[in-house]
């Protein structure tokens, strides 16, 4: 895993901190649907936070393809590359 990917994952975990219920441990392999204790709307709200943190747009069809935190991190990396 690249340093960049590790940094992105760390930022995602930080963004999640104020959204997820206490006691949920988040790792790269955590499933976004089902693993975070968030309902579907709360997940989409979290994605808006991610968009703002990384200054990218993540279209909803792209969100639907992403299952784990690691996959979200890869998608962010790819979208950031495309934006630059």
């Amino acid at each position: 895993m690249t340093n960049n990917a590790t940094n992105i994952e760390a930022e995602i975990v930080e963004l999640l901190a104020h959204r997820i219920p206490a006691g949920i441990h988040v790792s790269a392999q955590t499933q976004i649907v089902g693993g975070l204790g968030l309902d579907s709307v709360a997940i989409l709200d979290f994605i808006m936070d991610v968009e703002d943190r990384f200054d990218i747009s993540i279209p909803l069809d792209r969100v639907a393809e992403v299952q784990t935190i690691a996959e979200l991190s890869s998608a962010i990396e790819a979208l950031k590359r495309a934006a630059n």
Partner: protein, 413 residues
Amino acid sequence: MSLFSKFDDMRANIDLLVASGRNPFDMRFEKVLSATEALLEGRPCLLFGTNNYLGLTFDATCIEATVRAVHEGGTGTTGSRIANGTYCDHALLEQRIAEFYGKRSAMIFTTGYQANLGLISTLAGREDHLLVDADSHASIYDACKLSAAQVIRFRHNDPEDLAHRLRRLKGHPGSRIIVTEGIFSMLGDSAPLREIAAVKREMGATLIVDEAHSLGTRGKNGRGVCEDAGIESDVDFVVGTFSKSLGAIGGFAVSDLPDFDLLRIVCRPYMFTASLPPAVVGSVTAALARISTDESLGARVLSNSGRLYSALAQAGFEVGPEPNPIVALKMTDKETAVRFWNRLIDRGVYANLALPPATPSSLSLIRCSISAAHTEAQIDRAISIMVAVGRELRVLDPRPGKTPVHLTRSLPI
């Protein structure tokens, strides 16, 4: 693993709700007595959860028109307009809607859901970008799913956030289509349409506004929040429904764009479904004439809404941000909302139980809709029952006049 095992969580949620009292998704009225009363569990019940904003479901003129239409045109059209043809009354209703909005064209759909589904999914092609308010109705989200466009949510009622997200798309090809609503269905808050229209103009986007809850309830002539905000000429498409203020079923879209009628041969949710039956077209045409000529209906629903909203806010309930025909009471948690809703029905008031994920910000709500047909006595009775239940469940301070519980500590919502 069965085909239905993917719904195990949903089943568990429903089982929990049923164990707490009733199934909110399967409430059965033995008889609907009027626009504001029904028989429920063998007892009369006040209806504060049916979106019957103008109370026209039992309007004598509308009933007469629907009876006449069914005698003259039969019970159904038995198919779509592209196959079975258009009845003169479909065309007449479209003309009346276009006239009502002062727009060039109107198209009617078989439901309001299909109006959003059809219009949005057809307009937004592969290269295009849909920017939808985060709190949009399910029909808007489903339209986004059906469309090939890239879909971006913007923060609810936040024009600056919308502008920011539009700026991020700089350099990308395709049209930008903004979708929002006049009044939002859960909290009853209205969109800041003047500011959103300014963003639309600045960014060269297209603007669609769903006025499902604001047709007939807002605007001097009942044309909704767009009329109130004075931005009707900025709105490229208004979408609406016949199922609320107009007391029937169906949906519509209106526009000034000259190519609008092309949608009739490319919009699949319009093309491949049966058209509205004569009875519905008849009552909707009559209802539209009623609201076009009777300003008192809109005035009454707003004054009734203000009466309920002010009294509940004053009693200490945490309500939505403004008095509209939807008044939502924020509950401290899901369990309290379920108990509150059950007790309201025990005392003869039917409202809606709205729980996450159907609600914004994971709120648990008791959602009331107000009608022009409610009498002041009915509203006052509903207020007194809601306040009593609020005190029993400690959503309000149990001692009259004391600080409500929710204002003395921070809420988890």
